[in-house]
């Protein structure tokens, strides 16, 4: 996943990867990763809960807008944080 992100970034596309496992995120080092507290198989939180799913997506996209980030930018997702 990080390797795809890197290829896209090299060609002018800004990326953010949902990250489920810190160990792998730190070994691979994607340009931007939102580290989520969910089990494997549940990257955008809860099935049939649009609000929770959208919250994760919006948090990921906000990483793209954050000028303070530098690569690799690995940021923890806080479900209760206000976007």
């Amino acid at each position: 996943m990080g390797l795809i992100a890197a290829e896209l970034e090299r060609h002018g596309i800004s990326t953010v990867v949902i990250q489920l496992l810190r160990l792998v995120a730190e070994k691979v080092g994607p340009p931007r990763g939102l580290m989520v507290p969910f089990r494997h198989g549940y990257p955008l939180d809860t099935p049939n809960d649009p609000e929770k799913q959208m919250a994760v997506i919006q948090a990921a996209l906000q990483l793209l807008e954050d000028p303070s980030q530098e690569p690799p930018a690995l940021v923890d997702y806080s479900p209760d944080a206000k976007g």
Binding site: M1, A6, L64
Partner: protein, 160 residues
């Protein structure tokens, strides 16, 4: 965070000892315009295909690194999950594929003005590819070209 305790001993050992390809240097494209003007592309490695598309092949040594293109306006009910890995719980994606391939959420995001537009075709991989050299050489540039040709500005990548 996903946790190593979810995995069998064999999978844990693989994750710890596998020679992950570190991205170095890390490429970086800063956002060039507001999200509300950006075209968003989705990449998922949940092994989803549309009904009628060729399923991913479980028997390819090193993993099936091919991808399927999924139109942005596809019905979520037409997605079929055939990921080969047994190291994650498939029940969530079976209940609601949006948690790994958020077709409905991204359409809502555009309606809300969160992004400007969506790629015509998203990219669906299976993941669990260990022959990453072959994938990076042969497949990823083609996938990238698809997004570049579609005028994609930003990409959301979702694993399982």
């Amino acid at each position: 965070m996903g946790d190593m305790s979810e995995f069998s001993l064999g999978v844990k050992a693989f994750i710890r000892t596998y020679r992950w390809r570190k991205i170095d240097p890390v490429p970086w494209t800063p956002l060039s315009k507001p999200l509300s003007e950006c075209r968003l592309g989705l990449v998922s490695t949940a092994g989803l295909t549309l009904q009628g598309q060729q399923p991913f092949d479980d028997d390819i040594k090193g993993g099936d690194s091919s991808y399927r293109e999924i139109p942005w306006d596809s019905d979520i009910g037409r997605l079929v999950e055939n990921h080969r890995s047994e190291s994650w719980d498939h029940r969530g994606v079976e209940q609601d594929p949006n948690i790994a391939f958020p077709l409905d959420r991204l359409r809502e995001l555009v309606e809300q003005g969160g992004v400007g537009s969506l790629a015509e075709r998203y990219l669906s991989f299976m993941g669990s590819v260990t022959a990453t050299g072959r994938m990076v050489r042969d497949v990823v540039p083609e996938a990238r070209a698809s997004f570049v040709d579609q005028g994609v500005d930003i990409a959301l990548l979702v694993p399982v």
